[in-house]
Amino acid sequence: MTDRDEPTLEHPSRHGDDARTPVPGGRETMPAGRVLVVIVVALVTWAFLSAPSLKRASEAQPLGT
């Protein structure tokens, strides 16, 4: 296998049917690029949801920490 055969964060549609292949347990898999989308969406949304408590926590701390 050459470097060219090793896609990394390319668009999943380029991999055709391979993009969603089941793993043992009946789960379908996902390419790394889409997983990165999951991670970013989860973190950004969580930050918005938690903004009030994060603000309270930061205000409760001494300045400079």
Binding site: L9, P12, R27, P31, V38, T45
Partner: protein, 470 residues
Amino acid sequence: MLFPTVDFAIFFALVFLGHWMFNPKPLPWKLFMIGASYVFYAWWDVDFVWLLAGVSAASQLGVLAVARQRDEMRKRIAMVAGVALTLTPLLYFKYYGFFSLNATNAASSLGLNLGLPLVQLILPVGISFFTFMAISYIVDVYRGHTQVASWIDVFLYLSFFPHLVAGPIVRPDELIPQLRVRRDPRHLDIAGSAWLIVGGLFKKVVVSSFLATTMVDPVFGDPSAHSAIDAVFGILAYAIVIYADFSGYTDIAIGVAKLLGFQFPQNFDRPYSARSLQDFWRRWHITLSRWLRDYLYIPLGGSKRGEIRTYVNIVVTMVLGGLWHGAAWTFVFWGLYHGVGQAIGAWKRVHLPERAESPLMIWSQRLGTFALVCGGWVFFRADSMATAFTLLGRLLLGWTTPTEVVTPLVVGTIALMLALQYAPRGPGLALQGAISRWRPVPIGLAGAAALFVIATLGPQGVAPFIYFQF
């Protein structure tokens, strides 16, 4: 860097991106991952980074010395020297204070003054785990079970951040071959990984923190002030706390590794459904159990040197396993307790006839084993033998004292966590299968909602994982 923190979330998002970008180029990828892992470790205490590097270098030097010898005796000497060199930092940081204090006390009772400096050293995080992995590498090369790896592979094998601070204890032949091949970025098990990470966070941040602060800390902190009912539920709560804490950490570690394309060995398999102490150790901290078996019990002779020697080997292995958890007499006693229990179990298998299995017998064995394990946890958690015996004494004498800390929520949480040990796996797998068919944005939104619920139910700030101190 703790897993359940914003720091780690940002760190992991960046490492995930870099990991898959460098993935096609082995050398830059390895350098990137070593750098990321050392940053992860340095987040605790930058001063101890040299220690991780030193143990890595010592194990590789030991392995090269083993591989260079042709004569079996010289090979063995090189292996022992390599193991001794690798073990030295662990012995010094973890056991010097315990040894010097006890040796000084013993000598002074005989009227002698040893003059040993009494110092309390800070224990570097994860030292017990990466030292055991380093020993595995040296011994496995000596035994011919694994090949000599390159320096860079050894440094990455020992520092790889998902397992670095609290395991699982991954064998060289499980991880080093995975470092040598490029991971396939097209097939990541997002649902399986997310299930492990979110479930692990829930166990640690919600379940473990809640029971630790409401039940375990008050009861173990001042057992004489609590009733027998408090003592019973304090002990049961600690059984759940240590399971939720440690298996939660392991689940997160395995899930994180999965997202990077790595398979880690399973570390827990419903331990509180075990039917004997031996069965318990096949289900609890599995990677430590097999390490103790392969690198301690079998070299001691295992079961090949007669019946009595087998029992002695079991007890010695478990006592040393107890001591691995911490330099204190409570851990020594805990190891002895499990060793004697397992030796009795082994004796029964040899000398008592097998009885036909019935549901009543199976459940009696499960309840009996759980009670024995809980008895051991008293010594594991107590800060001294006196505290442990005071707490056990409350079980006999505290029935007239009113209960103060047992609430319906505490009882319900303990009951739910115990019931989950027997829950069928099907519904969880079906849910993972359904989630895996969602688009990325809905999965991300669901993950955010789960994180929000966990953060809302959990306390402000998260205590370090229990096993970090080991």
